[in-house]
Amino acid sequence: MKVNTETVATREVVLTIEPDAKTIEDAMRRTARQISRVRPVPGFRPGRAPYAMVERMFGREVILNQALDVMAPDIYRQALKEAEIEAYSQGQIEVETEDPVVLKVNVSLAPTVELGDYSELSIEPEPEVAITDEQVEEEIEAVRRRHAEYTPVERPLQMDDHAVLDIKGVSGEEEIVNQERVTVNVTEEMMPPGFGEALVGMSVDESREFTLSYPEEFEDEELAGREVDYEVTLHTVREVELPDVDDDLAKMAGDYDTLDELREALTERLTQRLEAERRQRETEAAVEALLSVVTVEYPQAALEDEIDRIMQNQAGRLQSMGLNFQSYLNMVGQTIETFRDSVRPSAEQSLIERLALLEYAEAEGIEIADAELQGEVGRALSNRLAMQASPQIDETIDEMRKDGTMRLIYADVLVRKAAQHLVANFAGREEELAELSESAESETAEDEEQAAEGEVVGEPTSDSAVEESAVPADEEQPEADAEA
């Protein structure tokens, strides 16, 4: 077999394959027999017609095409081997010429990731999340505001009241706002500055006209520095009555008996949120640092696949909100093509990040033990499907193993773990690093126990667990220990 490789784009090649004439001929003879079995040649029993008769009846092209259909995967695989290519995805195999048989196929190569020296890289570790009393008080304020009572009053408007207004704002010729009966919280922070103050003192049904300017460094560039003439009519004034900070507030806010309990819960929620944000920021910083020493090359097909993933995720999210993806697109006035284009940049970014993290995982020997993976999947499933019965989950996991979903999930979990590892590594948190490597070991051990058990009982799930758990934890361990 002769194979010629020609690079046509980044990580994309065209293979020109010329299979051995002998192989082709053998295959064609086999195919001819097949054909005559299905469509017997008159005078011959099915499958007994000589090759030449079949060729004369059906034509060489028919036989060749049918033979290639059967052989293509084999030829393709062999060609890849010969050309020493690792394919990402495969295009249509086309017949270039028939005699001699020459095939052409467009192959996307697996992305390459070149991981530079990242040993010197680091990120500034963010301080541990510490909650101050003020922050908690702020949260409590927010709770109070949520449970505030609004009573209409017959008096001029004061700061911190609730007002129902018609607002019309004009800047030069352009209308900035024109809203009727909007409910606003009158505060000193209203935009543009002075708006709140300008309202104070108004009584019901009164109209006022005033002019205010937006600051030069306003977020919305359309408005920054503009002078706006406002015309405001007040319809209703409501006094805001905040509940007292006591145990009753705690009861109102949820399933808490005392104010202290509420405080505690709020503190915890706040800690979690800030912690998550901190992790997020650290991860972003670490990944960015990693990307500075990484060179990634990938074929177009990989990017398109990434976009597909994003689209699927989006569709899934919409589904859970009871929306159909297509009707969502109609709603926001996009077509599939424009949507794809709009997510392309972020898809590119996440693709590069994922590839880099996978490479990093490889370099650091990060693995996911089967039990860890199974636990992860089990958790995700029981969350999503509200399933409690574990046999069902086991079944689903088994199914996922078969249809290859498991491999995808494995990669996802691995990427997540790699990111954790990366952050811990770059931020210099040794204990966390050690912990991450250790968890793999202990879970593998656990997994083996499970597998052994399963063999005795003959449970089908555990059998496959044995196959999947090709995690050589022992190999990775000494290194990690030494580092710690």
Partner: protein
């Protein structure tokens, strides 16, 4: 008889291909008026071979019914020709 009117078509079946391969016997449908000698001349002229033996058989027509109508297929003549050792006829293109 004119040489070119004798041979009508080769008979290609599993049986005849086997005979051709193993016994150098080739089978043709020939004109009903043709004699063994006509066949010999025709085959030798058409395929440039030496004919060793010719066997001829008359294939009687069969009764065929089409509903109420009774008909007959025509009787025809079949000739089996044995070639001299070493000779052969390629009846299919591409073999």
């Amino acid at each position: 008889m004119n040489v070119y009117e004798v041979i009508k078509r080769p008979i290609l079946t599993e049986k005849t291909t086997e005979q051709a391969d193993e016994l150098r016997q080739y089978t043709f449908e020939v004109d009903r008026r043709a004699t063994k000698i006509d066949v010999r001349r025709a085959v030798e002229a058409a395929f440039d071979v030496t004919v060793e033996d010719v066997r001829i058989m008359r294939m009687p027509g069969k009764t065929r019914r089409f509903g109420r109508h009774i008909g007959r297929t025509s009787t025809w003549k079949k000739a089996s020709v044995t070639l001299a050792p070493g000779d052969s006829i390629s009846l299919f293109e591409g073999v």
